[in-house]
């Protein structure tokens, strides 16, 4: 019995060894996936993503400047007060309006507006001064993490970078509610405050632990992108593109079936040329992919209240571009492979890796910068970016040109390679 079991094991091992696709799925894919998610979710500290925040200081008070400096010293934040220089020319500082526009355009997920009068009462405990000017936090609600992070940092920085202001504000509260200090007490408190200010001015803000917690700085958050929307449109695009890739490679696999059965030979012996055949397949697979997208977004509209009908032009533009790109991708995979089994293994490997890097499984804005850049080599990233522009940011169709250009460019290049590789079917 043992001999038979060993024999069965041996047969299985030999079969696996000779099936490169199965080998790759068994050993390469897990390692690749592990590496991708290890990079995304942690591992080394220096790869932790930084949160970008645009800061507009309308107050220009001691308190507001101290707050901005404190935020700039936080290692986890990238604080920008003005856009990047254009052709070496320094740009003017952000205003409330330009910062809001920048958040809408996706430059950063959060903008902070420090209003006029903030410095007069920067800190409050409880709701003692409900009408005081509060910092406005403009957020892109597609990023569920960044606004929370910034809100927390604001409170922390208030404590660590403005202790003198806290003490001063405490003293004001004492005056207000306890009837004030004696002259001698006031002089001693003022002296302590002076000492605290000097100390604060000379020491850089440390990145010590602890958060603001109780909300000593008043913050009013407002979503400027994706107001009253959930993540349905994001997931419709993200998951949709991944399955489009699978469907496209499966549909293109018909070419392999036809080659194996001899049907391809028969077709090519008629008036049909290889180019005609492949263009026909590309068109069919593009239509199939587009239909899938339509179905997915219609389902999103019917079941999850996705605002589909007011975005039809943008959807059509992005849908067609994405569909052509995935169809060309599928044809390339099919033309490279020699059997259906090979195609199955290769497409699973490539599509899962592309989907994980390209944002179909996990939003790219939460990934380290290097991974975000790597994502730009995937169809997923460009397609998701395009659909997000339409459904999330309400951007006009004309803003889609980078995504459309890249996706159609990908389609042309992949199709040209596929056509070249398919020459092996033309003649022997």
């Amino acid at each position: 019995m043992l001999t038979m079991m060993i024999s069965i094991m041996r047969t299985a091992m030999v079969s696996l060894r000779r099936d490169r696709g199965a080998l790759a799925l068994s050993f390469v894919l897990p390692v690749v996936f592990f590496s991708i998610f290890a990079v995304i979710f942690g591992g080394r500290r220096d790869t932790t993503p930084k949160v970008s925040v645009l800061v507009v200081d309308e107050d220009h008070s001691r308190a507001s400047e101290r707050l901005v400096q404190g935020l700039k010293h936080e290692g986890s934040l990238v604080v920008k007060t003005r856009p990047a220089p254009v052709k070496g020319v320094e740009q003017p500082e952000y205003t409330a309006a330009t910062a809001e526009a920048a958040v809408k355009a996706g430059t950063a997920p959060v903008a902070l507006i420090i209003p006029h009068g903030f410095g007069e009462n920067p800190i409050s405990f409880g709701s003692a001064e409900a009408n005081r000017p509060t910092i406005q936090l403009l957020e892109d609600s597609s990023d569920m993490v960044a606004p929370q992070v910034i809100a927390g940092f604001l409170q922390k920085v208030a404590i660590t970078s403005m202790p003198d202001l806290m003490a001063e504000q405490g003293s004001k509260y004492f005056d207000q509610f306890a009837g004030g200090l004696t002259r001698e007490q006031r002089e001693r408190v003022d002296e302590s405050l002076r000492s605290l200010r000097q100390q604060q001015d000379s020491v850089a803000t440390s990145s010590g632990s602890g958060s603001g917690g109780g909300g000593i700085i008043g913050v009013t958050a407002r979503a400027v992108v994706g107001q009253n929307r959930d993540m349905v449109s994001f997931y419709a695009a993200a998951i949709g593109v991944m399955f489009l890739l699978f469907t496209a490679s499966g549909a293109a696999g018909a070419l392999l079936e036809e080659a194996e059965s001899g049907t391809l030979d028969r077709v090519l012996s008629s008036r049909v040329t290889m180019s005609t055949l492949m263009l026909g397949k590309l068109t069919y697979n593009s239509l199939l992919a587009f239909s899938q997208l339509v179905l997915m977004f219609l389902w999103g509209w019917a079941v999850f209240k996705l605002d589909f009908w007011s975005h039809i032009p943008g959807f059509v533009v992005m849908g067609v571009s994405t569909a052509i790109a995935v169809a060309a991708f599928g044809l390339l995979l099919a033309s490279i492979c020699h059997t259906r089994a090979q195609l199955g293994a290769l497409s699973t490997l490539v599509i899962l890796v592309m989907s994980s890097i390209g944002g179909s499984m996990f939003p790219r804005f939460l990934m380290p910068e290097s991974m975000q850049k790597a994502g730009l080599f995937t169809i997923n990233a460009w397609a998701i970016d395009g659909f997000t522009k339409i459904f999330w940011r309400d951007e006009p169709v004309s803003h889609l040109w980078p995504q459309v250009l890249v996706l159609l460019g990908i389609a042309v290049v992949l199709f040209a390679i596929a056509r070249r590789v398919a020459r092996r079917w033309e003649f022997s």
């Binding site: 059965s261 028969r266 003649f427």
Partner: protein, 351 residues
């Protein structure tokens, strides 16, 4: 009446039609029985359906076709007979442009084999079941018809004729994957004829078919042949070549080693001689040694001898008795293509 358009057309061409004959094709069209038929040109009427000159095709170190020269006559059914791997399919695939020859030339009705005219004139029934399994019989024929630029009523007429010829009219709506093996074979053949070619290449069309279905296929091919269609028919079954083919080319190792009618091949190889087949009881080694000494061959345990006259049988049996061999049975037969192949190559067709 022209019951099948290719039958009518090729019959006209076969008769080496004078202009008057062409009128008969037109008259068939007028009756609505021929949908799309290319008008025969001077070149198609005078050139042979197929001419192959010194064709060579190598795959790496293997020479699959080694300098074959061949000419198909109008209305002729020419058999390519040879064992598996002899080069028959490579030759056929070269004709239909699926294989690029290393040397030599192929012309179809006087035109280059890769020309549009040749593609129109050529029909191909590949050895594989080259069909769409998830499409019905009708849909398959419609698809292949469209690939040959047929459309509209002419396409529908061609589909109906092909279904009728393959006796699949009542199964027209059936998915191919649900058909029996024989039906698939018949549809596979019909798909090769959908564009009404003038020359059809059939690559082992009966492969894997049961005897009853094979007989059905023979009848279909005989209809084509009787209608004057030029046919190239590859097989490694001697019986098929004998039944269907006007001439037979025996192919081995990429060469044509003999070409002629059945009778010519036998005559050339054996003259008036006959074959004696005898089986003996006992050790096969000692039997084989004795058979070789007597100038015969042992094939599948049967001793085969070639004799000039039937009276030589008596001497042969006497010698076997002297050698101590116990005779089980003996028969006399006229040599056939199998015998010719064995005679020329020293091997059996199915080796």
């Amino acid at each position: 009446m022209c019951s099948e358009s290719w039958k009518c057309c090729t019959a006209a061409i076969r008769r080496n039609a004078a202009p008057g004959r062409c009128v008969s094709i037109v008259s068939c069209k007028a009756q609505g029985e021929i949908a799309t038929l290319p008008a025969p040109t001077a070149s198609t009427l005078t050139s042979p359906p197929l001419r192959i000159d010194a064709l060579v095709k190598r795959f790496g170190q293997v020479t699959a076709v080694d300098g074959i020269t061949l000419e198909l006559r109008p209305g002729e059914c020419l058999g390519l007979l040879g064992p598996n791997g002899a080069g028959k399919s490579t030759l056929i695939r070269s004709i239909v442009g699926r294989v690029v020859p290393d040397a030599g030339s192929i012309t179809v009705f006087g035109g280059r084999a890769d020309s549009a005219m040749a593609r129109k004139a050529l029909g191909w029934v590949p050895q594989e079941l080259a069909l769409y399994p998830r499409l019905t019989c009708r849909e398959n024929l419609q698809s292949f018809g469209r690939y040959h630029a047929l459309s509209g009523p002419s396409l529908e007429q061609a589909v109906a004729q092909c279904l009728n010829w393959a006796t699949l009219t009542d199964r027209a709506g059936e998915l191919v994957k649900h058909l029996s093996g024989g039906m698939k074979r018949r549809l596979n053949m019909a798909a090769g004829l959908i564009h009404e070619p003038k020359l059809i290449l059939m690559d082992e069309p009966t492969a894997g078919v049961d005897p009853q279905s094979r007989n059905h296929i023979f009848e279909m091919i005989e209809k084509l042949r009787d209608g004057g269609m030029a046919i190239i028919y590859t097989t490694h079954y001697m019986e098929e070549a004998e039944r269907l083919c006007d001439r037979v080319a025996i192919v081995d190792h990429g060469h044509i080693i003999a070409l002629g009618t059945n009778a010519e091949l036998v005559q050339n190889a054996f003259g008036a001689r006959s074959q004696v087949l005898a089986r003996f009881a006992g050790a096969s080694e000692s039997i084989a040694v004795w058979v070789a000494q007597r100038g015969g061959r042992t094939v599948d345990g049967t001793a085969q001898f070639t004799i000039e006259h039937p009276t030589e049988i008596a001497g042969l049996l006497e010698d076997s008795a002297k050698a101590g061999l116990e005779l089980l049975d003996v028969s006399l037969r006229k040599p056939n293509l199998e015998s010719v192949f064995l005679h020329l190559t020293g091997r059996e067709l199915r080796d």
